[in-house]
């Protein structure tokens, strides 16, 4: 854990690999959305594969807010807080897509998996 933290700290913020949860949360927030909406959206996007726990989601949202990758976009009604991605959040997503493309291309090349 300790080593892992040091490793991420040495990388520029936008260039660290994202967790699956963070990646899907950021993608969801290209549209403003509240917590439950994010959970549902991720479930739908991943065809039911990723079922994010509310505790995990809450922690991730707070970390993303602290990093400035998302902002809370006012409250649509008094109860449900909505969130939205920021420019630096989008930058992190774009970097992640590049990284995933590299992973995918290398994986396919070496295993000979079909396109």
């Amino acid at each position: 854990m300790h080593r892992r933290t040091e490793y991420t700290m040495t990388l520029p913020l936008e260039k660290a690999p994202l967790t699956e949860a963070a990646y899907y949360i950021l993608l969801s927030l290209y549209e403003p959305m509240h917590g439950y909406g994010i959970m549902q959206n991720i479930k739908a996007l991943s065809s039911d594969r990723v079922n994010l726990g509310p505790g995990t989601l809450y922690g991730a949202i707070n970390t993303l807010l602290e990093k400035g990758w998302i902002i809370s976009a006012g409250e649509s009604d008094s109860r449900k807080k909505e969130y939205q991605i920021t420019e630096s959040g989008k930058k992190a997503v774009r970097y992640e897509i590049q990284r995933l493309e590299e992973l995918l291309a290398n994986g396919k090349k070496i295993t000979g998996a079909e396109q």
């Binding site: 949860a21 917590g35 439950y36 079922n51 994010l52 726990g53 809450y58």
Partner: protein, 184 residues
């Protein structure tokens, strides 16, 4: 109809399992206060329960915000004692798992480990102080202060129980960390 049961369960995992077994039978926890469990009759298996240790007291702004967030996802807090909360969700809306990745699971287990170990230290410090009194009185006065000796024994026994409770999450954290080296 309400049903009340008195029970003392120190291991939250066993408690959670028991509550879910009760809910499966149609008795859903409704309120809890230091060993007193009150159940309401519902359809069997209507709710799934989870017990969570908050990082702050339930009345603090941090916890209020968190519990409100949970409520928006269909998770309701039915009771709380100190920092422990009893959460339930309707089973029809899918599985109920608060934490779904290794990072957040470790964080939750660390909160528990820290709570138990803090108490372990306190118990052993007070036990050591009492033991010092026992030894001092025995050497100087040739008398055994039975009250202090009793305290030492009780505190050590309780300390060992808390140590057992704290070692469970500690062991799980260790195995999750190993897993974390290769997956998320």
């Amino acid at each position: 109809m309400k049903h009340t049961t008195w029970r003392w369960i120190s291991d939250y995992e066993k408690e959670e399992k028991w509550l879910n077994e009760m809910a499966a039978k149609g008795l859903s926890l409704y309120s809890f206060f230091f060993g007193k469990y009150t159940f309401e009759e519902t359809e069997p298996g209507k709710y799934i329960y989870q017990i969570e240790l908050l990082e702050h007291l339930p009345t603090s702004p941090e916890s209020v915000a968190y519990l409100r967030f949970l409520e928006d996802t269909g998770v309701v807090c039915v009771a709380s004692v100190f920092r422990w909360v009893y959460l339930r969700k309707e089973a029809a809306s899918g599985p109920f798992e608060l934490y779904t990745d290794i990072d957040s699971k470790i964080k939750r287990l660390s909160t528990m480990k820290n709570l138990w170990f803090t108490f372990v230290w306190l118990e052993f410090i007070v036990a050591a102080a009492n033991l010092a009194i026992v030894i001092y009185e025995w050497i100087v006065l040739r008398e055994i202060p039975w009250v202090n000796l009793g305290c030492v024994i009780v505190l050590v026994v309780m300390g060992l129980l808390l140590l057992y409770l704290g070692l469970k999450p500690a062991r799980k954290i260790k195995s999750l960390r190993r897993e974390q080296l290769i997956c998320e």
